[in-house]
Symmetry: C2
Subunit: 234 residues, 2 copies
């Protein structure tokens, strides 16, 4: 039922950059505020192969991460063995912002991924000196809070609404036109939406039958009728 236990394959430690950290990759990862610039200056680029662990639940939360390339999932294993996914992070997204002493979630690379790793203490120290940076950090956290709220609204809805919302969310964050490339498996989606993979699969089929989407391949969805999806979205 669960994804196979991730292999810890990250072969580099923070601050031993795999390449000159400045100027690092300039992918989709630049919403250029002062924070982004500082992170690039202070951070190191790390590579994680598919399904490898980036950090573990209960580990000290000493670093903050920004996705440069690839995608990341945070998750928690419940006592009954189920896995709940906390969120997906795409290029440009910052994660590890728990701002508690220890992580409450684990993080894994969904696909081969490059992330910018920054020491949290360096970042908060900087925020103490530079109000603009502090504000940006705060905004990031607020945005995360908002996303959680939306998530809560989503989780009380029906399977169809959840899947429709998920597709629209991914479209907004990573769409090329109406084509949504999903980096994650059905199991990941199911664990994110609090459904089973069978229900996710059936719902997608249903949406396709209803001509709202087209399931080109299992990882590529074409949105055919956004207003129909929005209607389901609630």
């Amino acid at each position: 039922m669960l994804a196979p236990a991730p292999i810890r394959t990250s072969q580099f430690r923070p601050f031993v950059p795999t390449q000159s950290p400045t100027p690092p990759v300039r992918d989709a990862a630049d919403a250029q505020g002062p924070l982004a610039q500082s992170m690039q200056l202070m951070g190191a680029v790390m590579s994680y192969p598919r399904n490898s662990e980036i950090f573990g639940d209960n580990e000290a939360a000493d670093y903050v991460y920004k996705v440069i390339k690839g995608s990341v999932r945070t998750y928690k294993i419940l006592s009954d063995g189920r896995r709940q996914i906390g969120g997906f992070y795409l290029p440009g997204d910052v994660f590890g912002l728990q701002f508690a002493d220890a992580h409450t979630l684990s993080a894994e690379a969904v696909t081969d991924t490059k992330v910018l790793v920054v020491k949290r203490s360096a970042l908060t120290a900087l925020a103490g000196r530079d109000a603009a940076i502090g504000r940006e950090l705060f905004d990031l956290t607020s945005r995360e809070l908002r996303r959680m709220q939306d998530r809560i609204l989503l989780l009380v809805k029906s399977a169809q609404e959840r899947v429709a919302s998920f597709l629209l969310e991914m479209a907004e964050r990573a769409a090329a036109g109406n084509i949504v490339e999903l980096p994650m498996s059905r199991q990941d989606i199911a664990d994110y939406l609090g459904l089973t993979i069978e229900t996710v699969s059936r719902t997608l089929t249903g949406l396709e039958t209803a001509a709202a989407i087209e399931v080109a391949t299992s990882r590529r969805i074409v949105l055919r009728n956004r207003s129909a999806l929005n209607r389901l979205n609630g």
Copy 2:
């Protein structure tokens, strides 16, 4: 299905205190950090009768609130008419921390309530000058984030698990021994947990039959077997 539309009965505007704001009430509302002290100095005490609105969705989020007495619910009405409750706030709790320009949720008094109202701008200005205050504000937001995460974990579980978790949460926050006084109605609980009132009611009956709790009156629950509840909690 929904609670009756709240009557807007708050007869006072912020900063026209109903009583001398200093020194204000000294109820359960004091986890005395510098933030709490500043809020008391800068804030005004406002009274809201049961079911009255404290702020509305989409209103400017100009104030931050701290419950002195009573209880508050934040909520959102979904497009299909359902109501989702964002959270309950008890004496000592701070709410209105969205830190966006506009509230994303509405807030109402669940019971007759007194809150301390502080201008957000005053608080953030203060945070700019006093790092300790900024840190406390940040911590509050982080705690809210954590609570949301827990909430998400809760919403993917079964009705029994949700109700059990809810009771344990309330016990932790407001219990006198094993007696939990619930300020909110079954409808409130249902809208918080993403269930119907019938399911909440049946689940409580079930827990009582299983000797885990005792429903003394509809608003007073006695926890008879916490470990059983914890087991359900997952």
